[in-house]
């Protein structure tokens, strides 16, 4: 995606996540590009759609694994670029699962999740079986202490808890 950004003639704001610097993964050979405005279904599922971006995608994947143990098939969708974002893929996902959850690391109010929830509700209202849930960071200045920082941002456990709430299961 960075390569794609560099090749644009327009200015692009590319935000890297510090905590992902040590994350390793396979990259296909050749001139591999990730376009903007194309979300990726990183894990298909049928009971609930978990939308996320950046590092929270990895947390959402972990949460999806935990949910699987509970018999819930969660779909995880990585937004990848936030503007433009890929509403079409999100709406298609919701039309399949009828329930959705947005996970973001930053503050929830006025956040990206708020925008996505509003847009998805507008586009897929008649396909929702429950209100779209949101998981976001605590609305405090980011603490310096590691345990406090962990407590301030979403975790797979908080995502699972919220997903269960959206699914209305104990």
């Amino acid at each position: 995606m960075l390569k794609y950004a560099i090749r644009q003639s327009d200015p692009v704001m590319f935000i890297e996540h510090l905590a992902l610097y040590n994350t390793r993964g396979e990259v296909p050979d050749g001139d591999y590009l990730t376009e903007f405005g194309k979300a990726q279904i990183v894990r298909p599922g049928k009971d609930i759609s978990i939308f996320a971006h950046s590092r929270m995608t990895l947390f959402a994947l972990e949460a999806a694994k935990e949910l699987e143990a509970l018999g819930v098939s969660a779909e995880v969708v990585d937004l990848r670029s936030l503007r433009p974002y890929d509403l079409e893929t999100l709406v298609k996902s919701v039309k399949r699962t009828n329930r959705a959850l947005y996970v973001e690391e930053g503050w929830g109010t006025y956040g990206i999740g708020a925008e996505i929830c509003a847009a998805v509700t507008e586009a897929a209202f008649d396909y929702l079986d429950a209100p779209i849930g949101r998981v976001a960071g605590a609305e405090v200045p980011m603490p310096y202490s590691k345990p406090l920082e962990r407590a301030a941002i979403p975790s797979p456990a908080t995502i699972v808890a919220k997903a269960k709430q959206v699914l209305h299961i104990a």
Partner: protein
Amino acid sequence: MAKEIVMPRLSDTMEEGKILKWHKRPGDQVTKGEVLAEIETDKANMDLEAYDTGVLTKIVVEEGGQAPIGQPIAYIGAPDEVESADRPTSAPPSQPVTPETSAGPASEAIPQTAPAPAEEIKAGQPSADRTGQLTTRQQGTVPAAPVPTPAPPTTGGAVEDGDGRIKASPLARRIAAERGIDLSRIQGSGPGGRILREDVEKAMAAQTVQIAVPGPEVPRPVAEPVVQEAPVGGLTRPGRHEPFSRMQQTIARRMTFSKQQVPHFYVTTEVDTGELTELRQRLNAAGEDVKISYNDLIVKAVALALVDMPLLNASYREDGLHYNEEINIGIAVAIERGLVVPVIHQADVKGVRQIARENAAMFQRVRENKPRPEDFQGATFTISNLGMYDVDEFMAIIDQPAAAILAIGSIRKRPVVVNDEIVVRERMRMTISADHRVVYGAEAAQFLQLVKRRLEQPYSLLG
């Protein structure tokens, strides 16, 4: 861009409608307000008027076809958007079809176009061979036995569903609307009793297996007398089988629901109608254009009593009582092999003469089978009068969502004791059937007293 014309909600209880006739064909110019089609609902045949001006580009549901409320039945647009009318008329193009809406027996069963008569019979009579002559007839033209005394009234409620008060997820709502499922009869399993997709699907499954009182999505032939060859239940001679009309299906469903789900109780009293009769004669002797009937006076008396006792004008809701602001009185009217409940809206603030005038106009429209949608909507209390059929007294079935119905018997001369002497007086018995979840015995009795006082001092009705 072509605009959808959707199946309109023409009555409170309507779940789907049948296109009897298209007055326009694709390619025809349509002006706003012009009659596009005639639609048969569970109660009556009504005209569908155009909301837009343009050209009818496409008819989705052909004559004889049925569609649930909200489903597109035709499109209006520019002349170059006209499509051939011969196109298959199954799925409306604007509605995305998801797996769960395209599958399932219910949606497959909704015929978009009328099946051939032979198929209709098969649908209604799966096992019986038939020998009788078959002709397709419209509802209402079936030769039937003379009208017996009418059953207590059926339909015509203020709020049944879709008013946002029933908690249901948007998805559940959409599926219910597509399948013609009544949300008010579904128990929600979601947070706060919200109805979810699962609940609707369960209700659908239950409805599909229920044969005795079929839901509206089960295709039924409309009122075609069929001779059954095989006699049933040990009878040696075959009887005549007559499928229900849509109205009769609705009545059956709603009455069954009310009598099974609503805890009825009954309180009867007798009213001295001497002064009422006299007042009526005087009013009518004045020679005005519209004669005032006993019904008009009773409507007014009930409306005024409801002002004094709004509890009887309330409706039962799962989480509490809903007090209705308007006092709208429904009056059960017998029509051939059916009944309708036209509604006098805000009867408490209308004069007796105006009530009479509205009643007369409404009955006329009902008789001509051209009622307006509002004629049947929003009743908060119902009256059923069998006085003209030589009836001492009777008990009616509550017409939900009203909390009570008042059954009126015949006016008769009876011996009564006045000042320790037996005298002959004109008397009329009335019985209230009340929903015990809303009204308790003493309250029903108190209400009857209020109505009685109004009728026995009828000049109060003119105030």
